[in-house]
């Protein structure tokens, strides 16, 4: 006798063990309890990390005004000034530029993969994305250092200087290519595999019937995509972008290697910046001598963590919803 589909996924109840199988059932029950404990681990870990950072950053959070921490413009630990604003704005700039550069082509690639590509094309592109996803952050950094930074310096910046001298956020104020733009370009490539695969999966949740209904009345594929598919999966696409942004926010080594690490509030994509993760990476471990320094850095980590947790939770919930949506 085969139990009805789905019965096994709802739990061990409903199954009456035979007397001979009682011992086995007992070990099954014990396993169940131990194992169920396991699944609490991820939640516990998230809480643990947050709590750990909170405790260690408590000294600064309780003595230093939060307002000055978040919006202070000066970072001078030796003078007890811990303004994180330059680092926060740096992070936001680099992430925004990276996401803006990455999203349009990634959306198109994902749409191509799900709507146009044949199986053979797909099996050709998949490994490219897998490889891109497998490349370590530091290698992206090397690439950025030897390719992107010089490219920005020798090509993009002179061009922007000549072509858009009056647009504020394209102003060229510094001589080197270590800039927000370089960081953004490196990030754009780094988050591409994630963006593409998440959007692709979201598109796969749309049933074929819907595409066919539109094609059947003579719509072109692009019309179908634009008018039927995209409105339908928009929440999923937004969630994918937010997920990509949260990945970009926390990226450390690769960005650190190409953005210049100058603690200033950038006003142009050609300015150097100093993102939060770089601040932590460059200074943590050397700060024991100055009181509150350690606490301030962990406070920075906590801020980063909280922003990313919010982004992540929101996008992951939306994506779960999108994937589990029951299509009639």
């Amino acid at each position: 006798m085969i139990p009805p589909i789905g019965s096994s996924t709802t739990g061990a109840t409903g199954w009456q063990p035979q007397p001979v199988a009682l011992a086995r059932a007992k070990s099954n029950e014990r396993a169940r309890k131990i194992f169920l404990g396991f699944t609490a681990l991820p939640v516990v870990l998230i809480l643990l990390v947050t709590l750990g950072l909170l405790i260690r950053s408590w000294p600064i959070l309780s003595t230093y005004p939060l307002q000055d921490l978040l919006f202070g413009e000066v970072w001078k630990p030796s003078k007890m000034l811990f303004g994180l604003l330059p680092f926060i704005t740096g992070t936001v700039w680099i992430t925004a530029v990276g996401v803006l550069i990455s999203v349009p082509p990634c959306l198109l690639v994902a749409i191509y993969l799900s709507e146009y590509a044949h199986d053979s094309t797909r099996s050709f592109i998949r490994p490219i994305l897998d490889l891109l996803a497998a490349i370590p952050s530091v290698v992206f950094g090397v690439w950025g250092l030897v390719t992107i930074v010089p490219f920005v310096e020798s090509t993009v910046m002179p061009f922007a200087k000549a072509a858009f001298p009056y647009i504020p956020f394209l102003k060229v104020d510094q001589p080197t290519g270590f800039s927000v733009l370089s960081g953004g370009l490196v990030l754009a490539v780094m988050i591409a595999p994630l963006l593409i695969s998440v959007v692709y999966e979201v598109l796969l949740t749309v049933p074929n019937d819907l595409r066919r209904a539109s094609l059947a009345i003579g719509a072109t594929q692009w019309e179908t995509i634009r008018r039927v598919l995209i409105p339908q999966v928009l929440p999923g696409i937004i969630a994918a972008v937010v997920l990509g942004a949260s990945r970009a926010l926390g990226e450390t080594i690769a960005v650190l290697m190409v953005v210049g690490n100058v603690p200033q509030i950038p006003t142009s994509i050609f300015d150097a910046a100093y993102p939060l993760p770089a601040l932590i990476a460059n200074n943590y471990g050397e700060m024991m001598s100055i009181p509150l320094y350690d606490s301030a850095l962990l406070g920075a980590a906590l801020i980063l963590l909280i922003i990313i947790l919010i982004f992540n939770v929101l996008s992951v919930i939306v994506l779960q919803r999108v994937k589990q949506r029951k299509w009639e």
């Binding site: 066919r212 209904a213 539109s214 009345i217 003579g218």
Partner: protein, 251 residues
């Protein structure tokens, strides 16, 4: 009788499996043609060649010709979207687009830019909803999502949506098999009404429905057309042994 669609030497395979073997067919204009045959004999496949839907499946090879008004819709210079505009499809399960009732009906007209003014769209939507026998039920809630309708209503909405792009031919792949008897009768009724103006090709598994609808019958078996002809002949006095057996319910 003048034929509207001609199928000539049509061969279709999925990968290496040949599912249509040299099909030749004549489908008369402004009549209802019913395609029958046991499950898996290639009815859906045949129907999908007529609006160039079959090529949406991966790994399909199609050889031969399908002529609509004497023009081969598989010739390379043909505009697939025009073919699909001319040859409407009523699917097995109703598939309302995820938009309002109004937008569902106007979608095709909008895509093909068939109207200019908003008021024209409004009139046209009303017209086609009436034609599909749905206006009385939804006229007051045109901006509700289409998915809120009952399955039977959804299928009539799909009919209205298809009619709105002014096709000449309506294909139906078991269009009532997902519906309750009343809705099913409703659709049948509509198809009979519409046959004055449209050439209709319907696949069905129910013999009684076939008898109610058919002017012309095509009987298929294992990828071949075994018999085709006027309904009275095929039902009353089938020439082929296999048709006879099928009609007696032996398959």
């Amino acid at each position: 009788m003048e034929s509207h669609i001609q199928v000539k030497d049509l061969k279709v395979s999925y990968g290496k499996q040949e599912v249509l073997k040299n099909v030749n067919l004549e489908i008369p204009r402004n009549r209802i043609t019913v395609i029958m045959g046991p499950s898996g004999c290639g009815k859906t496949t045949l129907l999908m060649t007529m609006n160039r839907f079959l090529e949406l499946n991966e790994g399909v090879t199609i050889a031969g010709q399908v002529l609509v008004d004497g023009h081969n819709i598989y010739s390379p210079d043909v505009d697939v979207t025009e073919v699909r505009k001319r040859v409407g499809l009523l699917a097995q399960r109703p598939t309302p687009l995820p938009m309002s009732i109004f937008d569902n009906v106007s979608y095709g007209m909008y895509i093909h830019q068939m109207r200019k003014e908003t008021i024209e769209y409004k009139q046209a939507v009303r017209h086609y909803l009436e034609l599909a026998g749905l206006w009385d039920e939804v006229g007051k809630r045109l901006h509700d999502p289409a998915t809120a309708l009952s399955i039977g209503q959804q299928q009539r909405l799909c009919l209205a949506r298809g009619l709105a792009v002014e096709p000449e031919i309506i294909l139906g792949d078991e269009p009532t098999s997902a519906l309750d008897p009343v809705s099913s009768a409703h659709i049948e009724h509509k198809l009979l009404e519409l046959k004055e103006k449209y050439t209709t090709v319907v696949v069905t598994h129910t013999l009684r429905q076939a008898k109610r609808l058919a002017d012309h019958v095509v009987f298929m078996y294992l990828g071949e057309v075994v018999e085709q002809g006027p309904a009275a002949e095929v039902f009353g006095n089938p020439r082929e042994e296999r048709t006879k057996q099928y009609l007696q319910g032996l398959f």
